[in-house]
Amino acid sequence: MSQITIQAEDISIRFKDRLLFHIPHLKFGPQEAIYLTGGNGVGKTTLLKILSGLQSPTTGTVNLQNQSWFARLFKSNGKNGVIYMHQTPYMFDGSVLDNVCYGLKFALKGRQEQRSEAITALRMVGLETLANEHISVLSGGERQRVAMARAWVLKPSVLLMDESSASMDKESIERQVVLAKDLLERGSTLVITSHQQNALTALCRRQWCISNSKLIERADLQLIKKDKDNYAFG
């Protein structure tokens, strides 16, 4: 897994006359976990999509968007190493295993190796017994777990998690935390958005907040445990 530093300069998103946000400078590197907060509609998802290269900003650049259209036509996008996880993950029509194997197909690995890595990932999220089930039988929380396994198995340099713990129970979040910690130890960067503070957001040591079209960074925050289930920044 390659470690990368994402740097964005002067990025803004504008819908006709409405400015969603403008960020003059943004930089984050390996082994950082960042908690992105902000009210509904401030542009958290849009920012993550820009950072992942799925959406172009109205102005500005992100250092990862340097792959030409020609290169994207013939090469897999895997070298980019940035994975964006949707708020409600999309599952391809197929089995749970097919979905976890999806990205591995582009990593040029053998079928047997793909399968064994996917099964390991499913074991980590506690869904190995459902590997051959069609994805349509899974609940929302289980799909979130499959999405996490699907991302983890690729060992991304940057994982952008958009409300990925929204429909998860405590046990599922804990499983997600195990995978997130593993990625951090391997040198990945995590950006997590969530409206609820939980064990996943507790991994974060930096916090970004989008407010009034600006990104405010509160560096070096430590998450302290207030009581059994609630966490707070201190």
């Binding site: 897999s76 940035v82 409600t88 999309y90 582009f106």
Partner: protein, 233 residues
């Protein structure tokens, strides 16, 4: 005219291995299959670009394609006839009254249908499928293939509709093909000719072939697209 007797004669004709009849069937299917194969990939790419791309004039182009669907095949045949006739701009190609002209005509008939219906399929697809494929490392063509698999039901419906339209059209084939036996006579033009002569048995037999092959095609496509699972999100 006795309908029962005509049907019996038609069945007999089908199973007697009448070379003229099966020759007509061969022309019909080779021409239509080649026509739809040649336009399939460009239609897919244009439909995708119209649904997922953001560029000025997108809706104008789409409206033009939608309008082209309603042009009668005989009008397309007439335009092509004028273009390919000796006095026309492409007269030197000497394509009039050949299978190539029929293929060209049928491509013009089915292209707008494919673009319009495939656009509707992509427009109703889930954008997350495209984004998920890209973010998990797929190249653009692989991501497009994944998206096509996700909306294979409406896409195959578009192919069936377009193929049905060209395999059954008379106007264009008659105009630019000329209904020449063993060369450009296909099922619809043969039915029109035989019926005008009062020889209904061959017309009914050819009609049966069309129905049977349409049924076979639908079975094949049903197998190809696999099981259906309704999405819950």
């Amino acid at each position: 005219m006795n309908i029962w007797q005509t049907t019996q004669d038609a069945v007999q004709l089908l199973f007697s291995g009448d070379m003229a009849l099966w020759g007509i069937v061969g022309v019909s299917f080779s021409v239509s299959l080649l026509a739809i194969t040649l336009v399939l990939v460009p239609a897919l790419v244009i439909a995708f670009a119209l649904a997922y791309g953001k560029f000025p004039g997108r809706w104008l182009i789409l409206s033009l394609f939608n309008t082209c669907q309603s042009i009668p095949t005989v009008v397309i045949g007439l335009l092509l006839y004028m273009t390919l006739s000796r006095a026309g701009p492409l007269g030197d190609w000497q394509m009039l009254f050949t299978q190539k002209a029929m293929i060209l005509g049928q491509m013009m008939v089915c292209f707008p249908i494919l673009v319009s219906m495939m656009h509707a399929a992509f427009q109703n697809s889930d954008r997350r499928a495209w984004e998920t494929a890209l973010t998990l490392g797929a190249s653009l063509p692989r991501a497009l293939l994944s998206l096509m698999w996700e909306c294979r039901f409406p896409l195959l419906a578009a192919v069936i509709a377009a193929f049905s339209r060209i395999i059954t059209e008379v106007g264009c084939s008659m105009m630019v093909g000329g209904n020449i036996l063993n060369s450009t006579r296909n099922i619809p033009t043969a039915i029109a000719l035989e019926s005008s002569k009062g020889a209904f048995a061959q017309g009914v037999a050819l009609g049966m072939v069309l129905l049977i092959l349409a049924l076979g095609l639908n079975f094949l496509l049903s197998i190809a697209r696999g099981k259906a699972h309704l999405r819950t999100n």
